[in-house]
Symmetry: C2
Subunit: 148 residues, 2 copies
C-alpha cells in the first residue's frame, strides 16, 4: 500500500536508532489498512517477525507517536488506534465512526472548506481563551451503510 522509507531518516534525525523491530513495525503500519490497534500491529508483525514482543510494539508505537511519524486516536472502544502520518503533513483527514460495528472511515473531502472554517475558529478561540491551539480532531458518529 505505502512504503515507510521516509520514516527511517526521520527517526535518525531525532536521535533514535533504526532497529529491525522498528522497521518491521513501520512496514506493518505502512502496508496495512489504517487505524490498527496495538494488538493488531503486534499480530501482523508477529507473522514475519515472531520474536518481537508486545512490549516492544507498545514502546515503538509510543516512540513513533512522539516523533510524529504516526498518530494516536481514540475512537471510544477502549483501545488506541494508530495511523501512519502522511509524508507531507498535508494529508490531514477526519473520521466517521460507526457506533454499531466500529468501522472507521477516513475522509478528506471538503477539506478546503473545513480548513478555512477551522482556521477562523481557532483564531477566535485562541484569543478568547488564551489557548495555544496546535491540533484538532473532528469525529462524526453514526451508522455506516451496512449497519443502518
Amino acid at each position: 500500500m505505502r512504503e515507510a522509507g521516509w520514516c527511517y531518516g526521520k527517526l535518525r534525525r531525532k536521535g533514535f536508532r533504526l532497529t529491525s523491530p522498528r522497521q518491521a513495525i513501520l512496514d506493518v503500519l505502512a502496508q496495512n489498512p489504517r487505524h490498527l490497534s496495538a494488538e493488531e500491529v503486534f499480530l501482523l508483525t508477529h507473522k514475519s517477525h515472531p520474536g518481537i514482543g508486545l512490549a516492544t510494539v507498545y514502546r515503538t508505537l509510543n516512540l513513533l507517536t512522539q516523533v510524529g511519524i504516526i498518530r494516536k486516536f481514540d475512537f471510544g472502544d477502549g483501545r488506541s488506534r494508530y495511523e501512519l502520518t502522511a509524508e507531507e503533513e498535508e494529508e490531514h483527514h477526519h473520521h466517521l465512526v460507526c457506533i454499531r460495528c466500529g468501522r472507521i472511515i477516513n475522509y478528506s473531502d471538503f477539506m478546503e472548506k473545513e480548513k478555512k472554517f477551522i482556521k477562523d475558529l481557532e483564531a477566535e478561540l485562541s484569543k478568547k481563551y488564551q489557548f495555544k491551539i496546535n491540533s484538532h480532531q473532528i469525529y462524526f458518529y453514526g451508522l455506516c451503510k451496512e449497519c443502518q
Copy 2:
C-alpha cells in the same frame, strides 16, 4: 449548580428504577464541575453516601450514558469523563484540551457559525459515504493559558 430532576422521569420512561444510588450520582453530576472521571464521581458521591461502591458508579454511569442523560468523553488521559447532557439538547458544546496539564475547557461560543458549517458538512458526508450521522465531536488540542 444545576438540578437533576428532569432526569428522573427520563430513567423511568425507559423502564429503569430510580434508586437512591442513582439519585445520588445524578446529583453529583448536576452539582459539580464538568468532565468528571468515574473515580471523581465515586469520591464525591462517597461523601454523602459512603455506602455506594465504585462498581455501582460505573454501572450507573454506563446506564445514564445509554439513556442519554449523560455523555461519555475521552480526552486521551486514559480515563473516561462524563458530562450531564442539557435538558434540551441545545446546550451542545465542544472542547479545548490542554496537552500538558489535561485541563479541559468547554466552549459554546461561535456555535451559530459552527452549526451551519457542521450541518452542511454532515449532509455532504452522509451522501457520499452513505453514513447516517447522528452526532459529532470537535476537539482542539494545545496549551492552556497557564501552560504556555
